[in-house]
């Protein structure tokens, strides 16, 4: 069905640029509604069913599967032609900036390797400025998006608990799949975090702990749409529940977790309404004299030639920075600063997630009776932000919160497994080394904070006028600055994690930095970049309306992370999916009303 050049249709209703979370959702929703959709993907075609290295062992990979500059997350990571560097596709940094831009060049994009953490933004997250005066409010409320969160979670399969904590909303009853049993490390963390006032509750991950009910869910998600129900039921029947082994980041050949390539693109293709063209690097949105988008230009990477395709509607879902890049490179008489950029805000308010972490050794975990701790590969339990009241009262010195991710224990041995053992054993070697290894194996844990960054004027991307990539397309130049809200938050993270480790009777690895600027990850390193084409209520202060529709160009939409107004500590993918669905409903409505 996928082909090197579009053939099955001669005319398209919609061009979708990108096939990841936002593009996959757009392709699926618009195709089941009967529209003819052309998906352009900058990377190669990819099939997780055939390509995922399920159950492979480190020893079967070069360098025991360790990460390299070519495969930063390890040899088996699903990412194709990606990482913080992509061959032949550079970007630049302004002096003083060291932004890292992660991309992958494959069907399904980054959904193939992501962490599957699926947290909803809460009521406060849509109204940050109203609450504390910083950043900007979204042009919608939690209640506007909540139904789409429910539907998205049912569509993709998400496990989680039913806790309903402050700004950590519960899903509607029956939406989530049951969370897996906590691991020993997580239970121990929960016990010792409680006296510190730190909650530990079931995490929400897009991993199926049971199979989806293909008999009832499709009708609930797509009432009165027989085509949608048929293709979705067929697709759901081809997904298995989690096998409790082999890392999600490698992809999943039994489709137990969410990847665009296993969950959205298969039913989209089943409609017969979708063509996907891989190796198609979009460079420009084309316009007519009336100010409507007419289609896009792309470079066919296999022949290095420029192609043009047309459609009634253009949806950009190329990732926050890539979509901004396409828009900024789409210059015309009407839009000398880039298409849909009358506000001058395309590329502005770039955000990532604040990240800092610390590990420790827990004597209580030594010599633990052997048992299987693999589980869902991601965390089963986590800590949502818990200090909203203290923060609002100004007691913390930084304005926004973070959640805590946890890992460690008896994971599969990999390279570097006993890298720090020398310190614990005063240089053991020989038979004593083996005894110490048996004792210490599984006793190391790690906490990572993932926190909200407030958008600022100094963090943005723009076109570097002096550099093009190997496809002749001008590249992005990044500018980046953390404010004290982020660096102080990072310092709070490591202090808190050290307290948690100490409270567990453990020993913190390394020193606990009090200067957050020394522990905060680089911009882009957490790979949650969002916010370059933000939504809003006013065309002067935002690029898009609340439906991801350009204020300037009525038939141009954006469905990726660039639409974000703020970047709550909730990992963005679930929200990208829910927002994309909402945008698709709006596109269909606008078409029916004859507006586009």
């Amino acid at each position: 069905m996928v082909q090197a050049s579009p053939k099955s249709q001669t005319k398209y209703d919609v061009i979708v640029v990108g096939s990841g979370a936002g593009g996959g959702m757009a392709a699926y929703q618009l195709a089941v509604a009967g529209l003819k959709v052309l998906v352009l993907e900058a990377g190669r075609s990819y099939d997780p069913v055939r390509e995922t290295p399920m159950f492979k062992l480190p020893r079967q990979a070069p360098l025991l599967g360790a990460g390299t500059k070519h495969k930063p997350f390890g040899f088996y990571d699903a990412t194709v032609d990606g990482g913080w560097e992509v061959p032949g596709e550079p970007y630049t940094n302004a002096p003083g900036t060291d932004f890292k831009w992660w991309r992958s060049r494959m069907l399904g994009g980054r959904t193939n390797h992501w962490g599957r953490i699926s947290l909803r933004m809460g009521e406060y997250d849509f109204r940050p400025k109203s609450r504390d005066g910083l950043g900007a409010d979204w042009p919608m409320t939690y209640d506007d998006l909540a139904p789409y969160y429910d539907r998205t979670e049912m569509l993709i399969g998400v496990y989680g608990g039913d806790d309903n904590l402050e700004n950590t909303p519960a899903s509607s009853p029956g939406v989530l799949m049951p969370p897996p049993a906590p691991r020993a490390t997580e239970l121990l963390t929960k016990k010792h975090a409680a006296p510190l006032g730190i909650p530990v509750i079931p995490a929400h991950l897009a991993i199926m702990t049971t199979r989806q009910d293909a008999n009832t869910l499709p009708a609930r998600l797509h009432p009165n749409n027989p085509l949608a129900q048929r293709v979705l039921a067929q697709s759901m029947r081809q997904r298995a529940a989690c096998l409790w082994a082999t890392p999600c980041g490698w992809g999943c050949s039994v489709k137990a977790n969410f990847q665009s390539t296993t969950v959205l693109l298969p039913p989209a293709l089943l409609t017969g309404n979708v063509d996907i063209v891989p190796d198609a690097m979009v460079r420009e949105v084309t316009m007519d004299a009336s100010g409507k988008a007419t289609g896009v230009h792309y470079i066919d990477k296999t022949t290095r030639t420029d192609r043009q395709v047309t459609a009634r509607v253009v949806v950009l879902a190329a990732s926050a920075c890539e979509s901004a890049r396409i828009m900024l490179n789409s210059k015309s008489a009407l839009f000398p600063n880039g298409v849909a950029n009358s506000s001058g805000l395309v590329g502005k308010y770039l955000m990532d997630t604040v990240g800092a972490g610390i590990g420790g050794q827990i004597p209580a975990l030594e010599n633990l009776p052997p048992h299987n701790q693999d589980g869902a590969s991601g965390m089963h339990m986590y800590t949502p932000w818990w200090l909203y009241k203290e923060q609002l009262a100004g007691k913390l010195g930084f304005a926004r919160g973070y959640h805590i991710e946890m890992g460690g224990g008896r994971t599969m041995p990999g390279p570097g497994i006993f890298g720090g053992l020398e310190e614990f054993t005063q240089g053991a070697y020989g038979k004593r080394f083996k005894e110490e290894a048996r004792r210490y194996y599984g006793s190391f844990i790690r906490f990572d904070g993932r926190g909200e960054m407030i958008p600022n004027e100094d963090s943005y991307c723009e076109i570097d006028p002096n550099v093009v990539d190997q496809w002749g397309i001008p590249v992005l130049r990044f500018h980046w600055k953390w404010s004290e809200h982020e660096t102080k938050q990072a310092a709070h993270m490591v202090k808190t994690f050290a307290d948690m480790i100490t409270s567990m009777g453990g020993k913190v690895s390394g020193t606990v930095e009090t200067d957050g600027a020394k522990v905060i990850a680089n911009g882009g390193q957490i790979i949650h970049e969002v916010g370059t084409c933000r939504m809003g209520t006013d065309s002067r202060t935002s690029v898009l309306n609340q439906y991801g529709q350009s204020w300037d160009v009525k038939n141009l939409f954006v469905t990726d992370g660039s639409v974000f107004v703020s970047n709550a500590d909730k990992n963005p993918t679930l929200s990208i999916l829910a927002l994309a669905w909402r945008t698709c409903d709006h596109i269909l409505g606008e078409m029916q009303r004859g507006n586009i």
Binding site: T52, G83, P370
Partner: protein, 228 residues
Amino acid sequence: MSDEQTPPMDRREALKVLAIAAASATIADGLTPAPASAQRAALPTLPAASAPIPPKSGPRGTVTDPDLLNAKATWPRLLSAAELVTLSALCDMIIPADEKSPGASAVGVPAYINEYVSAPYDWAERALVRVRGGLVWLDVESGRRFGKPFTGLSLAQRTTICDDLCYLPKAKPEHQVGAQFFDQIRDLTSSGFYTSDAGMKDLQYVGNVPLAKFNAPPPEVLKHLGLA
């Protein structure tokens, strides 16, 4: 509005076969024998893949798009046979055979270290210098103390040298270089050893097996942690 096209049957049938083959291969390939305690589940039975999935494209075999199912470190190995003999002796001093598992060289650790220091990366160039230099340093030190290269020494003589190198913070100034070398070899040796089947078994790692259900930690674990 819908114009439901189905893909050509031949491609669909081919993909069906591929999908089934891939699914069964995942379970048969690469699994260590499951410990008796592990409950291995049967693979889920899925309906034959009839959905059109992307056409065969597959990995292009480049460094950023390698074949994950048929992985190979293809670069030439740089350590000589003689260097590997000395290296093996040192690896076995770090992880010798005991009653529970074999020693480092028996599970191929020297070959892994050779792969590591020969890799086409900047860090490997530095590691190669340190390892090569360290091996010569070790023989020179052995000769200085006992008049023979390291491989010619008795276990007691080797131990005397390793005792001086094994803990970097306490190593004497004249042993710093040797201790840094020793530390790196120890890290690499434990990486190579504990990722082997024998090493994973030694640690009683019992995962990487498909399960029908993920169970809560067993009672003896909860008791051990004071959570019972």
